[in-house]
Symmetry: none
Subunit: 153 residues, 2 copies
DNA sequence: GCGTTATAATAGTCAGAGATAGTCAAATTG
DNA sequence: CAATTTGACTATCTCTGACTATTATAACGC
């Protein structure tokens, strides 16, 4: 049986996605949407939207009160990636490409496995079929495309 | 006379088969189906669904709790990938490529993020710089290279 | 008008009840 | 004896509700 807390968590997360990383909700409104007591919302927030999980929560009581939830890091990771994408020109060598990829691993933006996939896709070995003088162009496109896919979440 | 534990083991295994390698059960429900105490389920799991025997078990207590059992792909994942690699010819269309990638996700061989990276690297968009009549060759090489990298880990 | 005091509208806390699963050792079986 | 079965006790997660805390706004007294 699906837990109510999980449903609420999902709902909030998709709201956050829709709203580009930050939302402001009203506890009672959300509770009544899910037919639960308001304190259940606190439970969900305190167990699922913690700091360690990358969220920052603020709230205010009284008339016009609210709970705001912001997703941390994710956006700055996306920003960082976007920055790198724009800094990559029309061409990139295999070596420079690897430097970038290693940086992403260092910054915890991608996992080791993901790094291996990216290296594999941009290696000279993979681009053997492409004439040498066009390889760095193709590589740049592939790398940019992969990076862009990461910013979509 | 067949021991109860063996019956439960068989039951779980056939469920896993029916469900393509992964199930989620409720301890109490299963116990009452076999008219035994709940802890018997733990016994069966700890003696028959161990890591060495190729299973991965997770559980959660509390309301809506569950026990999930997954059959590991261990070496067969690498075997499966190698098999796919050899079955990919010198050319592959974007569409066929995506079918493969989606299958890998379904078989838990790659994560969703990894799938996105692979799609991004093999899309026509990424290969724009490559002349149309060479694209499927380059794509095949990139895909094979990425797949090979996965077997190394 | 201005400061003070209710009132209403929020959100927070915490402890207890309910719903699961885990552990371990004694009893049983074959 | 080794494997299985059982059950009492424990651990963990979820849900609920009573009580508390905070804030905005309206009402009041001067």
């Amino acid at each position: 049986m699906a837990r109510l807390s999980d449903l609420i968590e999902e709902f909030i997360k998709s709201m956050i996605n829709d709203m580009d990383g930050a939302i402001e909700i009203q506890r009672n409104e959300l509770a009544s949407r899910f037919n639960c007591v308001p304190s259940q919302i606190n439970y969900v927030i305190s167990t699922r939207f913690t700091n360690e999980k990358g969220y920052y929560v603020e709230s205010r009581r009284g008339g016009g009160g609210y709970i705001s939830i912001r997703r941390l890091n994710t956006n700055s990771a996306a920003d960082y990636i976007m920055h790198i994408i724009t800094s990559i020109g029309d061409k990139i060598s295999q070596h420079t490409c690897e430097v970038f990829i290693n940086n992403f691993v260092d910054y915890n933006i991608i996992s080791n496995r993901e790094a291996m996939l990216m290296r594999a896709a941009t290696s000279d070995k993979a681009l053997m079929e492409v004439p040498m003088d066009r390889r760095d162009d193709v590589r740049a496109m592939i790398l940019k495309n992969m990076l862009t896919s990461l910013t979509v979440i």
